[in-house]
């Protein structure tokens, strides 16, 4: 079942078989047919390991994501799916690598043992040692998200700052004056996760611009935390009439918390944020939100990585996406009937 066996049965040399299959040198029509026939007969496929060893490319890309400790969110799922699909279109396989730190064993495997030709990094931090490490080695990679200093590197990302700003302006336009921000978990914020930081920046900036009274919260990635977070918000400032969130996984909990506090969405309270559309459509009322185009980001990341692999000297490229807010049903004008507004 190796190339020598094919060569013998076809009555030619191993190199001829190789050339016939790769087309890298001309082979006479007769021999080509003969070889192809033997190959088809035996169902021969060249060994990926041998090929990788010989030409130094594995035809595999690594997808590096954080360890499972914190739950995966729906966004991450969509990324993974679209990356795999896009990679398959370019004839690349995808190797999953759960990796937190730079010194990580799994990360070392990918790079040190040369298991992959390139890597896609998820869940980028503003100061990201994995990204720094890859840049240092000049290892082909594309980040999903951008670090504090993205110059000279390849990435695709969402303009979280602008997105959250748009959410705040949307609420301010509706007349909301007291707004809360529900961020990702505190440990992620402290670790420097890009979306958490830039989202928070955008929130603070836009709130200042519009002269809003705001509070910001961190919230665990699950329903119970979301519910608790709403309780904190309404306890800290019962006059709050709206919130903006980046936290997809807490969304259901946020809604539950509001319902239990007797706040009707959107009549008494508006909710918006940055969330993948399939999750925005799951809650009732459906969430008015900047839809995260996770699948598109995944596809673009693969496009960029393949370009970088094909042209090692190409100048860095990136894509910064700013999807519009999809108006659904979770936001409305402030100052409608609210029980505790008229004591």
């Amino acid at each position: 079942m190796n190339i020598g066996e094919i060569a013998r049965r076809a009555g030619v040399s191993r190199s001829t078989v190789s050339y016939a299959l790769s087309g890298k040198r001309p082979v006479s029509e007769d021999t080509r047919r003969k070889i192809q026939q033997v190959v088809d007969e035996l169902g021969y496929r060249p060994s990926a390991s041998a090929r990788a060893l010989a030409n130094g490319r594995t035809s595999t890309i690594g997808l590096v994501f954080p360890p499972a400790g914190n739950h995966y969110t729906g966004m991450q799922l969509d990324f993974i799916g679209s990356v795999v699909e896009a990679a398959a279109a370019y004839d690349y396989d995808v190797l999953l690598s759960p990796s937190g730190m730079d010194s990580d064993r799994s990360f070392q495997r990918l790079l040190g043992e040369r298991r992959v030709d390139g890597a896609i990094l998820m869940e980028i931090r503003l100061e990201d040692d994995r990204a720094d490490h890859l840049a240092e080695l000049d290892f082909p990679s594309v980040a999903i998200g951008r670090t504090a200093h993205p110059e000279g590197s390849w990435w695709v990302g969402l303009d979280h700052t602008a997105l959250v700003q748009a959410c705040v302006h949307h609420l301010a336009d509706l007349g909301h004056r007291r707004v809360a921000f529900v961020n990702r978990p505190e440990q992620l914020l402290r670790a420097g996760y890009e979306s958490a930081h830039r989202g928070l920046d955008g929130f603070t900036k836009a709130a200042a611009e519009r002269g809003l009274t705001v509070r910001t919260y961190c919230c665990g990635d699950d329903a119970a935390s979301g519910q608790g977070c709403v309780e904190r918000i309404l306890h800290d400032d019962p006059a709050t009439t709206a919130l903006v969130t980046l936290n997809e996984a807490a969304l259901g909990g946020l809604y539950r918390g509001l319902a239990q506090a007797g706040r009707h969405v959107p009549r008494d309270f508006s909710v918006t944020g940055v969330v993948a559309s399939r999750w925005a459509e799951t809650v009732t009322p459906q969430l008015t939100a900047a839809d995260v185009p996770a699948a598109e980001l995944g596809r673009l990341a693969v496009d960029l990585l393949v370009e970088r692999l094909d042209h090692p000297d190409a100048p860095p490229r990136h894509h910064l996406l700013t999807p519009p807010i999809s108006l659904r049903a979770s936001t409305g004008p402030a100052g409608a009937t609210r029980s505790d507004a008229t004591p």
Copy 2:
């Protein structure tokens, strides 16, 4: 940066380096130290491709899941995460393969090109050509789910029949007499997806046992379909007071449909089913459901696969899980106030 370089710098032969690092033959303490020092200095790591070629094992397992066309559900995400994590603990990498059919290009890559040592199959069908193909080749694999004839093969799975039966009995015990079943999409049922079939069987069987009046529905994997499905249910039989579902992704839509029809959960209408706990807890009221232990299934699948790889002649093993129903807040006694019950 290859083993020859290490050997030269340490003043020994390549084989000695190999033995020093693998420990497969004794090496004097002095040489071992010298070699280790050079290795550390240069940060040497043996090439995975070369090693795979030499000893015929890639230290990689393939995770085969259906193409992205149909959305991924939360369950699948949890599987992927836990499989990757469990595999890492055994020093295996995970290669993702989107694969529908047996003749699939991607599937051929995995097997034909020997990219992986073994495979884990997700989304098993009762008659599954991928599973048959693997069994025929005697290729080490573990299925998540079991085919119609699982004898002699390795698998982990959920007893969907028993789980759905438990749901039906729970509803019947509460006095519900007219119950609907919301299954996965019709195309998946027709394709023979195991969970859809066994779940339906369990539903039909238990309903007959308890003498219930039932209807069964297929429902797309998204919120809009769920909402539409509830409309169909209430149109077909307005006296329906409960439903059982396997369809995680439609859950939010089911709730919305009920709310829009003026049915309060759980006062007017009970909802239950088989759903991962994190999703059951997202909706309000939280779903009483048999919690799918996706992470545990993933881990067990890896355990079994590794065992099979280590002991090629071991007899087939499997794990059939039947998690209990978690009582939450979405079911209640039938026959409470219902507007259209008293015209």
